[in-house]
């Protein structure tokens, strides 16, 4: 989805100037600032009735400041490439082989996809069944643990979460198709 891939090229050593990942980070921040800055013009600077600070003021100032800082950082990076820590540079792990890289990347992709899939499925399958399925999937398919271990973990998750959230805290967790209201009426 978002995030992980944000302009983070691998497999090249950092050049002295204008590293793409850093440029991308700065550009994203500048855009964020610009977005809020421009957006703030649909809200008044002061509240009309009493002249107090309005809803547009803070986002306009902060948005403009972020836009300017983002542009300044972009300029600095493009011109000098001064290396500062925490500037958005992605470090390289040299000690890894390509094969290891691929495994790690695949695992990350699968886990990320599983997270999104879980969030999509919860309204349909209910919170606890979905999460138990997620645990089962992660432990078996991704981590390749043995069946008994994986099953125990998933069932454990189901039972403990049910006891904690359902019974003790009485959180109305979504039930999805297992909602008795749905079946009780049939």
């Amino acid at each position: 989805m978002s995030g992980p891939a944000t302009g983070a090229p691998r497999g090249e050593t950092a050049p002295a100037r204008a590293r793409p990942s850093v440029l991308a980070t700065h550009a994203v921040l500048a855009c964020l600032g610009g977005f809020f800055f421009l957006g703030s013009f649909s809200y008044p600077w002061t509240t009309v009735e009493d002249g107090t600070v309005g809803p547009g003021a803070l986002p306009r100032v902060a948005g403009l400041a972020l836009l300017l800082i983002g542009l300044a950082m972009l300029r600095r990076e493009a011109r000098t490439g001064t290396v500062l820590e925490g500037d958005g540079h992605v470090e390289e792990e040299t000690e890894r082989t390509d094969a290891e890289h691929r495994t790690v990347r695949r695992k990350l992709a699968v886990v990320s996809a599983a997270l999104v899939a879980t969030a999509v499925l919860i309204p349909f399958l209910g919170m606890l069944p979905t999460l138990a399925a997620l645990t089962l999937f992660l432990t078996i398919s991704v981590e390749r643990l043995r069946w008994p271990v994986a099953l125990t973990a998933s069932l454990g998750v189901l039972v403990v979460c049910y006891l904690l959230f359902g019974v003790l805290l009485r959180v109305p967790l979504p039930l999805g198709v297992f909602d008795p209201a749905l079946w009780g009426a049939v």
Binding site: S2, F36, G51, T52, H89, V90, T139, A153
Partner: protein, 531 residues
């Protein structure tokens, strides 16, 4: 005073009350451990359970939950970088590093000890001088709160390390993200794109679960998973050195937490961040902060603890909750027919003093419960990460959902999990973003109120308030000035080649808050020098 306390202890020390206090503390710890479910939600959920009790017993149990969950939230923050509550985010900075270095036991133990000491001091102040502090807090109107929030925003500088621009940028990004939702002053929905679910804004508890818990988890997966830690027995215990270093840090944290706790609305999250900022500025070992220094664990926890106890000052004396949880507790008071306010101490002495006495008892029980348990909790890290991380995902998602019973929360956790992972991969400091997110709305509220008081003008009111000017001067002198000087200095030192960047921290004789790439006591985190 002593009479009153004796009365209180006599009321609180019945076997039944003790039992429920213990149950409350225990339940609270469990609730605190669950990500997202903080003290506020825990107390709110359990109020109906206590409805059948005697008022004092019920309040004692609720207060136990309150104290317990504050502490429980720290446990997972230290062990697996999953803050159970916004105020324990800071514990992930150094506590998690300590845990990864095999010192989870001492980190948890000092957190318990520091919290207890801070709570004890705050409670003594609370029981003896509550009305005095409440009076002082009354003098803190919007202009003064505005100055405090400005000071809070300045602390972003402390958290940005040398890359001041990036820190400021991320702080601003946090403020901007926090402006999503209905505006505090005029009530205009901003940046909601007609999505009513966004009217309440992006809830920061869920954002933090995403940034920290899921972000760190993905990061660990990327780095080939954290290895199980088998700490040696002596690593599980506090050393004399640990305690020696913790005492001044606890004292500073307690003070910061108490002052901010007295102010209605400032909350304990800000207190924990500020306490960490103070350590970065004044601690003798400030160079080690961020690499697993014990001061960085104990000071924020002490601040949270003293702050959450000091929160009861405005709650009991003024009837204004000092934080989200005391707001819920205030609701519970009303359910039991207790109307906080100026006459509370006179009209219902048994109840109030019993409650205060139970705070002492609750904190003592918490210490008794958690000090021996610290090494036990530390054993959690012996679980294989391949089993541990699915559990972290599951509890994060259920926990986030339970905060508001909303699927939006689950999505926020997932999305900000990716954002957090990206930020970690790119070495971006997360703290300024979080701080901006927390302070943004508080700052804007104070801004709007000040301008409403000054009929549209802000500066004259600020300038005419002595405390506000003093706080702003403090902000300039202690935070902005030194940070700017450091930034300029480091900028002239920064080299152009990437090799030099590694050398800049380790090689150069370094006076500032030092990044410590490859610091020996850090097992797994040579990067993110300053988050």
């Amino acid at each position: 005073m002593i009479d009153n306390l004796t009365l209180g202890f006599a009321a609180a020390l019945t076997p039944e009350n003790l039992l429920w206090c213990f149950v409350g503390v225990l339940l609270g710890t469990v609730i605190g451990i669950l990500p997202g479910l903080g003290s506020a939600t825990g107390v709110a959920i359990l109020i109906p359970v206590t409805l059948t009790f005697e008022p004092l017993t019920a309040l004692i149990m609720l207060a136990g939950i309150y104290h317990g969950s504050q502490f429980g939230a720290t446990i997972t923050a230290i062990l697996v970088a999953t803050p159970g509550e916004a105020s324990s985010v800071v514990s992930t900075f150094d506590g998690y590093r300590m845990a990864r270095a095999g010192r989870a036991g001492p980190a948890l133990a000092i957190s318990a000890l520091g919290s207890f000491a801070a709570a004890f001091i705050a409670l003594v102040a609370l029981t003896t001088l509550a009305p005095v502090f409440a009076d002082a807090a009354l003098g803190f109107g919007p202009p003064e709160i505005l100055a405090v929030m400005a000071l809070g925003l300045c602390t972003i500088m402390v958290f940005s390390g040398r890359n001041l621009m990036m820190g400021a940028a991320l702080g601003l990004a946090g403020i901007l993200v926090s402006s999503v939702g209905v505006d505090v002053g005029s009530g205009t929905p901003r940046y909601t794109f007609d999505q009513v679910s966004l009217f309440g804004g992006l809830p920061y508890v869920e954002v933090m679960i995403g940034l920290f818990a899921i972000g760190e988890l993905l990061n660990q997966l990327h780095r080939g998973m954290a290895t199980p830690i088998r700490a040696r027995f002596r690593d599980l215990l506090l050393t004399r050195e640990d305690i020696r270093r913790s005492v001044p840090a606890t004292a500073r944290g307690t003070l910061v937490g108490f002052v901010l706790g007295c102010l209605p609305g400032a909350g304990t999250t800000l207190a924990s961040f500020m306490a960490y900022g103070v350590e970065k500025r004044f601690s003798r070992n400030r160079d080690q902060l961020g690499t697993g220094a014990i001061e960085g664990v104990v000071a924020p926890d002490a601040a949270t603890s003293s702050g959450s106890n000091a929160n009861f000052i405005p709650t009991l004396v003024l009837g204004v909750p000092g934080g989200a949880t005391t707001a819920v507790l205030l609701g519970a008071f009303l359910v039991y027919g207790i109307q906080p306010g100026p006459l509370l101490f006179e009209e219902q002495p048994t109840l109030v003093w019993g409650l205060l006495a139970s705070f002492f008892i609750g904190n003592a029980l918490l210490l008794l419960l958690n000090l021996p348990l610290a090494p036990v909790f530390a054993q959690l890290l012996r679980i294989r990460y391949s089993v541990l991380y699915p559990l972290i995902i599951v509890t994060s998602l259920v926990g986030a959902y339970s905060v508001k019973n909303s699927m939006l929360s689950v999505w926020i956790v997932v999305v900000f999990g990716f954002v957090g992972y990206a930020m970690k991969r790119m070495n971006l400091p997360v703290a300024p973003f979080v701080l901006g997110l927390v302070i943004g709305p508080l700052f804007e509220t104070a801004l709007v109120q000040t301008s409403a008081l000054g009929e549209g003008e802000i500066l004259p009111l600020l300038a005419s308030s002595g405390p506000a000017v003093a706080i702003l001067a403090l902000a300039l002198a202690l935070v902005v000035g030194p940070a700017a000087v450091r930034a300029v200095r480091s900028r002239t030192r920064a080299r152009r080649s990437p090799e030099a960047s590694a050398g800049a921290g380790g090689g150069a004789p370094d006076a500032g808050a030092g990044p410590a790439p490859g610091g020996e006591e850090v097992l797994d985190a040579p990067r993110r020098p300053d988050d």
